[in-house]
Symmetry: C2
Subunit: 358 residues, 2 copies
DNA sequence: ACCGGGGGGGACTTTTTTTGACCCAATGGG
DNA sequence: CCCATTGGGTCAAAAAAAGTCCCCCCCGGT
């Protein structure tokens, strides 16, 4: 009954989405990167300076932003608006119904689609992080162990997580050992930052991610390592990003030969060391210490997957789904692309579409 | 929680109400008086022909209207839209909160405010009629007697009442004998039309409205008259318009002397022969056959008052209110004016403001 | 059969708004 | 102290909107 209000609006005022979206994106951007200047904003949003000036004028007159020498700041009303109007924007863009369709297609517990396209607008990443952070907080209960993986998406979650105490006795651990990457995007770093925000304990796994089996066995014999491993395996909530197979292979420094093998096996998606083909089967595994896929069936109550960008669509479909424990947070671009994948393959809505070459 | 959505919209897109209202009024107009031409519409809505043309273009592109040689017709989607979006428009214009404030000020059971100003746009009358018709239908129960008065407002209710059977055994009667007016606006005529729409019985009172006491006594002795009178007195629902004292006095052909007396007594409102001062007291009564004010306290379950136009505001306040049985349907113009009356008199929100000279 | 009034659509000019491209003084961080 | 960046101002070009016609058509009454 109430979902039709937006349709009515779009019918009688078809220019509304354009106005609304433009202004919403602008205000959102201001909120995220204040103080910010006109020219910066204009180049970010891809509009002329003069146009932006008019828009800013409107927002200023409405008391949504303060314009000062030094830049443009959001007012408290502006911040409140951007938070409060998001569900509205979502339903106006059809994201609410998009969420429902994905819920049915992927058969997960919950889907959150964030407006925008991550590859075009970095703000979308933060917004995704904020959405995932909200979901994460809802999952936490006293005494739980939370495992987090690395990547920019998870880093964004840590960034956007409000700094207010979580439930009692939370312990945050990395899902796996560190990748040889920028420290900000390592699981360890993110675990620590999440724990900091939640004001909870954390334990780290200061180890390289990719190891030989002997090294692993040896390390497992260590008492301190064993302790942390037990902690990791007792995790009840898992927060992880999703990588495309190629990108992750490259990032791990895989050689040409290894990448060719992955391609031949049809790997499209990756989650903490596991490579999945389009049918959701594991085709390769980077040996390391940390959470194993098998553990997901056990204690894990919820896995929160965060990913965005059209190019991640296939990876997302490969990795997530068919698990009522899965909570998926993604951006509009990936969401629409996933829908395309399903539609182009099987109009009869079976899960697991084969990969589509782009 | 949800009432803030419109405020958000107005904040971030302050030009929205203008666009929306213009288009809503246009579409509503088309619905009510199709087929209709550009020029007619333009003069009605007070906009240039060219702008109207653009608006029509938008509505056409949205599939809300059909544009044919012969005029502009609403599509079924257009009709559905105009009906479905009305509550939205109301809350956007603040009419929903206006209704709540009037509810508190007048202490009636229910208030329905229709967007627009009756004196400027005749469509508002019809829309008011439609709203009142809906209220009326909700009041009816099997076997009830419904009394209706005369006037343009009640005539509009009869017009807009959908022609679908009402509850079983409804009987429609005029609240009073006929006024010496245009037949379309007489209580008898309206009673018959309402009954026709509801597919129910009706009984009429073919008598002049203003009579001497002897004549009344004589008529009451008549068996057939007595029957109808009993029926009228057993009415459980009453639908009536509200007149300003001056207008009604003039319409009844009162002389200068009589009108001066009414003025001196402070009469501002009129309902089927009773004149009320601003405090809601009866100051004059036109002797006639039909419903007496005293009857209202008895069997009457609901009285539906319909009135519109800024000039009716004082009359409405004088006549209606302080009765939990009262259902009020009015237009935006009258509603806002009533609020002004209360505010200008007693900020402490006591009922019954003294009359304000205009 | 035949007007004639009101219907939509097209075309043209005028006006207003929008937009792009500057420059300027001020401010704040390095 | 300096330089980069800020918001504000201005002005001309461009585009969009709006006002004003005229034309043709259809329908209905004569």
């Amino acid at each position: 009954m109430f979902g039709h209000q937006e349709d009515y609006l779009k019918l009688i005022a078809p220019e509304l989405p354009e106005i609304l979206l433009r202004r919403y994106r602008l205000l959102r951007r201001i909120c995220f990167s204040a103080p910010v200047g006109r020219r910066t904003l204009a180049s970010c949003l891809g509009v002329g300076e003069r146009v932006l000036r008019r828009e800013i004028g409107v927002l200023r007159d409405q008391g949504l932003v303060r314009v000062e020498p030094g830049g443009i700041y959001p007012s408290s009303a502006g911040r409140a608006l951007v938070a409060g109007i998001t569900p509205y924007i979502k339903s106006l863009l059809g994201l609410t119904s998009l969420e429902e369709r994905l819920l049915g297609l992927l058969k997960v517990q919950r889907v959150t689609v964030v407006p925008g396209e991550l590859e075009e607008d970095e703000v979308v990443l933060w917004e995704m992080g904020r959405a995932a952070a909200r979901v994460l907080r809802e999952c936490l209960a006293p005494g739980m162990v939370l495992a987090v993986s690395g990547g920019t998406s998870c880093a964004a979650v840590a960034d956007m997580l409000p700094a207010s105490p979580g439930p009692e006795g939370i312990t945050v651990v990395p899902a796996r050992g560190g990748l040889g990457e920028i420290v900000d995007y390592q699981a360890n770093t993110i675990a620590a930052r999440v724990a900091d925000k939640l004001q909870s304990r954390y334990r780290l796994l200061h180890l390289p991610d990719s190891l030989s089996q002997e090294a692993i066995d040896m390390l497992l014999a260590e008492k301190r390592i064993k302790e942390i491993m037990d902690l990791i395996h007792s995790a009840e909530v898992l927060l992880h990003g999703i990588g495309t197979a190629e990108e992750m292979a490259t990032r791990r420094g895989a050689g040409e030969e290894e990448r060719r093998r992955l391609r031949e096996k049809g790997a499209v998606g990756e989650v903490f060391g596991y490579f999945f083909n389009a049918s959701g089967e594991v085709v390769e595994r980077v040996p390391s210490l940390g959470l194993y896929l098998e553990d997901l069936g056990g204690r894990i109550k919820n896995t929160i997957a965060v990913a965005g960008g059209r190019k991640k669509a296939e990876a997302i479909v490969a990795v997530v789904g068919n698990h009522p424990r899965d909570l998926l947070v993604l951006d509009e671009g990936a969401a629409r692309r996933i829908l395309e994948l399903f539609e182009s393959r099987e109009p009869s809505s079976g899960r697991r579409p084969a990969p589509v070459s782009r």
